[in-house]
Amino acid sequence: MTGWLPSSAQRRLARFVAAEGGAFTADDLGTVREYLSSQGFLDDPANNAMVDRIQSAIDSGRPLTEGEQNFMTHELTEANLVNDGMSQEAAHEIASGTHPPFSNYDPAVISQYPDLFNENWFHYWEGR
């Protein structure tokens, strides 16, 4: 599926997919924070809340939740593809394929900012 990507991007993508399970590091979060900041995406309170939650989890040793893992996988994939020269829009489409739709924000953050998400995001997490 990713054979058309540059080999460096394939290696990085493989690394991030392999990291699912919560093995993200403070360095990974630093990469995500730097990427989001460089694109102006930290203006978004939901992104800020996700970064803060993940920082807190890494600091305390708490395993990342499903939403936190998906957020990290998405943002690391997108950041590295953009850093390799891909447009943000194309990188976002590929990163969105690394997790089910509506699953890359923690439900607590979705509930904290209900005006920033539509009902599909709430429905995804209902009963999980």
């Binding site: 990427y35 989001l36 694109q39 102006g40 995406f41 203006d43 978004d44 939901a46 992104n47 996700m50 957020f71 998405h74 943002e75 997108e78 943000q88 829009e89 976002h92 969105s96 739709p101 509506f102 890359n104 924000y105 209900p114 005006d115 920033l116 998400f117 539509n118 009902e119 599909n120 429905h123």
Partner: protein, 176 residues
């Protein structure tokens, strides 16, 4: 249908005369009215606007259109479609990304009405009808439609008083 594209900060905006593919099956009308404070001799004017902002983990998207016409009162009618669902048919043309689902689900229609009522006094008098909309089942949100409603009303009013559309967009979007 002519369209112009404007970029303000992280936002991309399409200003369109009209977009027939954004017409949708109306389930209900949300309405609001009040006596006019002043009577403004506004001409009838129609616009459709589309807004897009990338946010990393998702985007912020909305398409909204309608008409301002002369009236003795100050009133708003917002057409509401059926509720949002995942995987709706994307039959509404987008100028800024993948095509959208035509419609204005209740969660977005309520945000649009709230935003219009807040900004409406700028008109003095007139009737606003919202009857075009398109949404993305991942990227659209009440907040995106609130922004779109503010911008659409600014453009309708701006056209009525012969302001330049692009400068109206820049003024409003810069305040977001």
């Amino acid at each position: 249908m002519s369209a112009s594209l404007v970029k303000v900060g992280h936002w991309r905006i399409a200003i369109i005369d009209d977009e027939s593919s954004a017409a949708f099956q109306i389930a209900e009308w949300l309405t609001w009215s009040t006596p006019a404070s002043t009577v403004s001799p506004v001409p009838s004017v129609r616009f459709v606007i589309e807004i897009f902002r990338p946010l990393g983990g998702r985007n912020s998207r909305a398409l909204l259109g309608g008409e301002l016409s002369k009236a003795k009162d100050l009133s708003v009618r917002v057409a509401q479609s059926s509720p949002i669902g995942a995987g709706g048919e994307a039959s509404c043309r987008s100028r800024l990304g993948r095509d959208l689902v035509a419609g204005l689900p209740p969660e977005f229609a309520e945000a649009v009405l709230k935003s219009l009522v807040r900004c409406l006094p700028v008109l003095g008098s007139g009737a606003v009808v919202i009857d075009r909309a398109g949404y993305d089942d991942v990227d659209s949100s009440p907040s995106a439609f609130e922004h779109a409603a503010t911008l659409l009303l600014g453009l309708l009013h701006g056209r009525a008083v012969a302001s330049n559309a692009e400068s109206v967009v820049e003024d409003i979007v810069s305040s977001w």
